[in-house]
């Protein structure tokens, strides 16, 4: 069916947690289908429209990135509270991705490398300070994929997920039609 057949526009929110915004860029890669998209959905909290806090309940939440600090956890929790359907998209949201490479290294070692011993900081931090301030998020002991923090309804794999997969998934969610993923949209080699 044509996506335009949807009667009322669904409300959608998006966020990038411990990600690189690559998944959001891939979403924009749907090209001219963006025109179809804005007929299908209305954006609420999202970097696309810069709405910072939820102003209404949403139908769909799209989450890029996993949780590497307590602010990520806070945002993800808000998404879970305000979105009927929560979709994790991209490797980092699904598995932790690149940020999770630190998961085998104790946090203290990571922080000391970043602030005390790394080549760009060695000798330049005589007080040996590791930043801590109520205004900056607290780093988690490891990077958590989203489904280890909140219930995730659907997962879109890829680094990034292909624009076609994101589009097909959104259309399916908006129209209520079952998604039949095309092989090329999740074939990664």
């Amino acid at each position: 069916m044509s996506p335009k057949a949807a009667k009322t526009r669904k409300i959608i929110a998006t966020t990038s947690l411990a990600g690189c915004f690559g998944c959001h860029m891939s979403l924009l890669d749907i090209d001219e289908r963006l025109f179809d998209l804005i007929e299908l959905v209305e954006f609420n909290k999202s970097p696309f429209d810069d709405i910072k806090t939820f102003t209404r309940e949403c139908d769909i939440g799209l989450v890029e990135g996993g949780c590497c600090n307590d602010e990520n956890v806070h945002v993800l929790t808000e998404f879970r509270k305000h979105c009927k359907t929560l979709v994790a998209f991209g490797e980092c949201a699904l598995m932790g991705g690149l940020p999770a490479l630190r998961n085998t290294i104790p946090l203290r070692e990571c922080l000391e490398e970043a602030y005390l011993h790394g080549p760009t900081v060695a000798g330049r931090n005589p007080q040996g300070l590791i930043p801590s301030d109520p205004d900056i998020p607290k780093i988690l002991n490891r990077v958590y994929p989203c489904h280890e923090v909140v219930k995730i309804d659907y997962f879109l794999p890829g680094c990034p997920p292909s624009a076609d997969l994101i589009w097909d998934a959104l259309v399916a969610l908006v129209t209520g039609q079952e998604l039949e993923p095309q092989y090329r949209t999740f074939k990664f080699d």
Binding site: V73, K81, E112, E148, V149, K151
Partner: protein, 596 residues
């Protein structure tokens, strides 16, 4: 060290397919297999270092650093834990002054966990320098460590209270007990070596196979493949060189029948191999025995020597021209998956025990790519009795699809654990009564790869067509916490024993353990339970039986004991994952900046 390595490899003619023997012998000499030793072995054998390294790293009895003058491997099986294993472990740690996984500061002893060592009827048990110390208590553990400190030898530590039957044989001298509670007509009846072989040599090989076929002998390892058919495939397979393997790598937790059969009826097993060799046209046999039973080595070698002297092995057996067959013994080094026949063959070739892709099946291309029959210890005993007493006699016992008898290994919460040789077709209830079990909550039939059943299924019968079993029969009393005491132990076991070759097995055994631990901690969700069940489908794609059944402990208990799972599920908001703990997750950071 150089000399030892060269002498030992020379003993095996520098044959890299004998790597298991070479490594076992060198470790006996040197205590462990360090990187330098590994490099030297590779050099002497003329193979890449990584080929030696991968074999060393695969088997858990191969040590890459010293494990102490006394290496204590304390069994961590379900039944060992039923009988006070935790207290024994704690006593060992305190007395030794080191934790499990470590060696004491003076290098005197090392403490290590190990999976079921085949002593489920006399737990908790440990292997110390290859010798079995059954029925341990904290007092005995303390006395053992004190004895080590006082300079006693392993023989002095053992004492002389040897077990019954051949456990007291001068070449065995083991503290192990047989606990044969019921002698059946197949394995544990009266038996004189050589009579069956004499009958066989008067027959053609086709007649021998026909006899085994008409008796409907099926493989006793658990899968139940028709033995006569297997022999026929191997006989028809092209090639002059063929092999007969006896699989005595019983690693299924709760199984110990092969240990008792090899102690009391080794001649029958070897005679069964010779009969198979005659039927198939093989001239060499290998008895592959798990490392845990190495204390039987000298004894088994002597039995072979006697059989050779009686011309029941060797050249022109029974005076028959062209019937040449001899047997060698191959020990494993601690890997459950090697009980799978193609993994066992890989191991016997000196490699990691990873199951092969099939086809080709071992009967076509097995050991050294030659046609190979792999039969269970008990299967071979059945073949001997079929030859002796006839197919008709055999077919009178058992059920429609399961003829003959089965040796059961009964353990767990009962007064009479041990060996019961019964006809196929006994109900679970019958076995429970024989073993004097009371207040039974569940029975684990066929070991962890089998099924955990509750009282409503105790009327079911042991047979290939109903409850198939390789012999393991673990009784779980009313007072046990099945999830924590049984299922979690099995889940850890499979995670540890997965060879890692197939992704579903490697990944999902680990993930299943994590999810199970979460459920046990009261943080699981209904979705977690559904997920565990869904993974079973993926696991069917694994290459071998281990991978295909590795979630059985979990899925059979979800099926039969679902309330035990549901009672533990989190009652929290289903939108949030109960196991995620934000204050705990930021604790490391807070500590780092507090001291920074």
């Amino acid at each position: 060290m150089e000399k030892n390595i060269e002498a030992i490899t020379a003993k095996y003619r520098g044959d890299a397919t004998r790597l298991m023997d070479i490594l076992i012998d060198i470790q006996d000499e040197l205590g462990c297999l360090t990187p330098a030793t590994v490099a030297r072995i590779a050099g002497v054998l003329g193979i890449p270092q990584v080929d030696v390294e991968q074999t060393v790293s695969f088997y858990h009895f191969f040590a890459r650093e010293p494990r102490g003058r006394f290496a204590v491997y304390l069994n961590d099986s379900v039944v060992a834990n039923f009988y006070g294993r935790a207290e024994v472990a704690a006593a060992f740690e305190i007395a030794a002054g080191c934790r499990f996984g470590e060696v004491s500061a003076d290098g005197l002893l090392g403490l290590f966990h190990t999976a079921c060592i085949g002593m489920s009827d006399q737990e908790p048990a440990a292997l110390i320098n290859g010798q079995v110390f059954p029925r341990l208590t904290p007092d005995k553990a303390r006395a053992l460590v004190a004895g080590m400190r006082a300079g006693k030898t392993i023989e002095e530590l053992k004492g002389d209270k040897y077990g019954d039957g051949q456990n007291s044989h001068p070449l065995v001298r083991a503290l192990v007990k047989n606990h044969i509670r019921q002698r059946g007509p197949t394995v544990f009846s009266d038996y004189t070596p050589g009579i069956a072989l004499a009958k066989v040599t008067a027959m053609t090989s086709a007649e021998v196979i026909a006899a085994v076929k008409s008796a409907s002998v099926r493989g006793r390892g658990g899968a139940g493949f028709p033995t006569g058919m297997k022999w026929e495939f191997a006989r028809r397979a092209p090639g002059d060189v063929k092999y007969i393997f006896c699989n005595a790598d019983e690693g299924e937790p709760g199984t110990f029948k092969d240990r008792v059969i090899l102690t009391e009826r080794p001649q029958m097993v070897f005679e069964g191999m010779a009969i198979a060799a005659y039927a198939v046209g093989a001239d060499h046999g290998i008895l592959y025995v798990r490392n845990e039973y190495r204390y039987l080595r000298a004894y088994l070698e002597q039995v072979l020597a006697v059989l050779r002297a009686q011309n029941l092995l060797g050249e022109r057996i029974g005076g028959q021209a062209g019937f040449d067959f001899d047997i060698s013994i191959q020990f494993g080094a601690g890997a459950y998956v090697c009980g799978e026949e193609s993994a066992l063959i890989e191991s016997a070739e000196g490699k990691r025990g990873e199951p092969r892709d099939r086809p080709p099946f071992p009967v076509e291309k097995g050991y050294l790519q030659r046609p190979t029959v792999v039969n269970n210890v008990e299967t071979l005993c059945s073949a001997v009795q079929v030859v002796l007493k006839g197919a008709e006699w055999y077919n009178r016992m058992g059920t429609e699809q399961s003829k003959g008898t089965k040796v059961l290994c009964v353990s767990g919460d009962c007064d009479q654990p041990g060996i019961y040789e019964v006809e196929w077709g006994f109900a679970v209830n019958d076995i429970l009564a024989m073993a004097k079990a009371r207040d039974v909550q569940a029975v684990q039939v066929g070991g962890p790869s089998g099924a955990c059943i509750g009282p409503d299924e105790f009327g079911r019968v042991l047979a290939y067509e109903d409850l198939a079993t390789g012999g393991s029969f673990i009784i779980i009393g009313r007072h046990r916490d099945i999830l924590r005491d049984v299922v979690l132990n099995f889940a850890r076991f499979f995670r540890e024993e997965s060879c890692g070759s197939c992704v579903p097995c490697r990944a999902l055994t680990g993930m299943a353990q994590v999810v199970l631990e979460r459920i046990i901690a009261g943080q699981g969700t209904a979705e977690d339970v559904a997920r565990l069940q869904a993974w079973q489908k993926i696991m069917r794609n694994n290459r071998c039986g281990l991978g295909q059944t590795a979630l059985n402990p979990i899925v059979t208990t979800i099926r039969n004991f679902r309330p035990l799972y549901e009672a533990r599920l989190s009652r929290g908001d289903p939108r949030f994952v109960p196991s995620f703990d934000l204050p705990a997750a930021v604790r490391d950071y807070e500590a780092a900046v507090a001291n920074g």
